[in-house]
């Protein structure tokens, strides 16, 4: 009796356990199915197909799609409009990113101080524009910045700073910079929150210990805060740079790339080529796809180079690389 019980028990266990395991595996796949289907439809398929389309000549509305090989790319590298818009996006990244990351760090350091009573209210206010829809911000800002009747020009004229109203969006030399500032203002709060999250990782005890040793505010900043922030800086710079490449909604709503294409960033160029060609020309979906793929690859290389450079520069064991860097900023394509 006592000899057979363990054996029986084991047999029952394996049978029941095996059944349970198998049924569990089946449930696991069932649970994964919806996410896999959605991702296949809206991430993988479009990703692959945008490369396929980039080798096609296709106006989109009819089914006459013809394979042209690399002709789109060959045309692209000679397209002045493409490179000009590429350059404007580069301005967004190269000017917008350091300014935003730097100012947001300054503000975050100030707002992180607990002695500041109104800190929470300030955070809320600086974060507020992040919540708003970019296209609606763009529309509203065309009013706010309007040379006729807009409040900003009313202030400027009223205080005697300018003689004539400033055409923030109608002046070809100004439009891009206006868009850059509005985009930076709208998304500033995201970068600030990133920095605040990073600052929260600095243990309070470090400061206390250093203060006991007689360290001043600057020494605390220089020797405790900044070294801890370095690994976060990489991620924050990459995320902010990425966001600066995606200024479509704001620019489209404010200037549509005008005047005279002078504020046409890359996403506007691609959109115009694909969906809104001027002068009644046919849409060129294949060509737009090629521009998108070219641009997407360039972006990726840029991000990788950034990671690589900082890793080499820092040479630290723990770089705090996140598992995932995509997704969070509202409105960023996922």
């Amino acid at each position: 009796m006592s000899a057979t019980t363990p054996a029986l028990q084991r047999r029952v266990q394996t049978r029941v356990g095996g059944w349970y395991e198998r049924s569990t595996t089946r449930w696991c796949y069932l649970f994964l199915l919806p996410a896999l289907v959605l991702t296949a439809m809206f991430s993988f398929y479009p990703m692959v197909m945008s490369w396929v389309y980039s080798t096609m000549d296709w106006s989109g509305f009819s089914d006459d799609m013809s394979f042209v090989g690399l002709a789109n790319y060959a045309e692209l590298v000679r397209d002045r409009f493409f490179w000009d818009s590429f350059g404007r996006s580069a301005v967004f990244v190269l000017v917008g990113t350091p300014v935003r990351v730097g100012l947001a760090l300054l503000l975050a350091i100030v707002l992180n101080r607990q002695v500041l009573r109104l800190s929470v209210a300030f955070r809320t206010m600086f974060f507020l524009p992040v919540m708003a829809s970019a296209s609606i911000i763009g529309v509203v800002m065309t009013f706010v910045l309007s040379p006729s009747n807009g409040p900003v020009n009313a202030v400027l004229a009223g205080s005697g700073v300018v003689d004539a109203p400033v055409g923030f969006l109608s002046d070809p030399d100004l439009a891009l910079w206006t868009a850059l500032v509005v985009h930076g203002w709208k998304n500033f709060g995201t970068t600030m929150i990133y920095w605040l999250a990073a600052l929260q990782t600095v243990p309070e005890e470090y400061y206390e210990a250093a203060r006991l040793d007689g360290a001043g505010a600057w020494a605390l900043m220089r020797h405790i805060t900044l070294p801890i922030l370095v690994p976060f800086a990489v991620i924050i710079i990459v995320l902010t740079a990425k966001e600066n490449l995606h200024a479509f909604a704001i620019v489209q709503a404010m200037t549509q790339g005008g005047p005279y294409f002078r504020s046409e960033v890359i996403e506007i160029y691609i959109f115009r080529t694909a969906f809104a060609p001027d002068g009644g020309a046919l849409p060129r979906l294949g060509y737009a796809s090629a521009a998108g793929c070219f641009f997407g690859t360039a972006t990726l290389l840029l991000a990788l180079a950034q990671f690589w450079a900082v890793r080499r520069m820092g040479g630290r064991g723990r770089t705090g690389t996140p598992a995932v860097d995509a997704g969070a900023p509202a409105g960023a394509p996922r």
Binding site: C28, G296, R334
Partner: protein, 304 residues
């Protein structure tokens, strides 16, 4: 969690305990620090007010006539002209766009949060054949160049016959399953004790029942964060609904609708600002009440 905790200790969501604590802040800071704080506040108050001025301007202009708006900086007004809202809702079809947006946002939240909860649950709690492959495949989504995915999505929606209904936009908004939400759910479910499952199994509960009645109810904070992530995405998204409704103006969402109206109502700032207020207010009010979750869902991106 502690790393993400962007709130200062308990000031914003629990004001009462703060008051209950006997003089906390005063004693902790030196005189010099307090002087610094006062100086900083004096600098930051005007800056912060200027920062949100466009919103104040929009809100107050929405109850003014054009004559009162034009050239005026002063946000205050003596008469509230609600007619702008009626005009925006009826003539400018903001009512339709508003309901479209509610539909798209609501259902895309339902779809996206459900799918990422299901996926996060099995990734966080179970080991099964092919798990590594699936994780690897999802990592690819993050690291491959995007291309211009909107064109294939546009084409796909057309092909599956959803281009004429709001479901096309809804599915596409829910589509690129948010990896952040999946990771949040996986991390949360993964750290829950296995005993919960075992005791439920003894009681005869199956896989589905264990998920739905034991684990899911515990995941309320993560669910809230995932809902808010998707809410921000769906309510505000622009390019996707713009392209998908190019030939179907009646399916526009608010952010597309207001953009499309700006030429027609170019000179009617009262109506346009009323329309913008209708679009901005829901998400801003929600944000003011649920700040913690909003901030957390955004800060998640830099979690080390």
């Amino acid at each position: 969690m502690t790393a993400l905790d962007v709130r200062p200790p308990r000031t914003e969501d629990a004001p009462r305990p703060r008051r209950a604590r006997p003089k906390p802040a005063r004693a902790r800071f030196s005189r010099r620090e307090r002087i610094w704080a006062v100086g900083m506040t004096v600098v930051l108050v005007p800056l912060a007010l200027a920062w949100v001025y466009p919103f104040v301007w929009t809100l107050t202009s929405s109850v003014k006539s054009n004559q009162e708006i034009f050239g005026s900086v002063n946000p205050f007004t003596s008469v509230l002209r609600i007619g702008n809202y009626a005009a925006a809702w009826e003539q400018a079809e903001i009512g339709r766009y508003f309901l479209n947006t509610v539909f798209v946002t609501g259902f895309s939240i339902l779809i996206a949060v459900t799918t990422s909860a299901l996926m996060g649950y099995v990734l966080g709690r179970y080991r099964f054949v092919g798990k590594k492959v699936i994780i690897g495949v999802f990592a690819l989504v993050v690291f491959l160049p995007e291309g211009y995915t909107i064109i294939p999505i546009y084409d796909l929606i057309e092909r599956i016959g959803l281009s004429g209904s709001l479901w096309g936009v809804t599915l596409a908004e829910a589509g690129g399953v948010s990896i952040i939400s999946v990771l949040l759910f996986a991390g949360f479910f993964g750290q829950l004790p296995k005993e919960l499952e075992e005791s439920a199994r003894v009681d005869g509960a199956g896989f589905l029942r264990i998920f739905a009645t034991v684990y899911l109810p515990l995941a309320k904070p993560v669910t809230a964060t995932a809902v808010i992530l998707q809410f921000m995405h769906s309510w505000n998204d622009f390019l996707l609904p713009l392209v998908l409704t190019l030939t179907r103006p009646d399916l526009r969402t608010l952010s597309v609708g207001i953009y499309a109206l700006r030429d027609e109502y170019f000179s009617d700032w009262g109506v346009m600002t009323a329309a913008s207020t209708l679009a901005l207010l829901p998400i801003i009010v929600l944000f003011l009440f649920l700040q913690r979750y909003f901030v957390e869902s955004i800060a998640g991106a830099v979690k080390g």
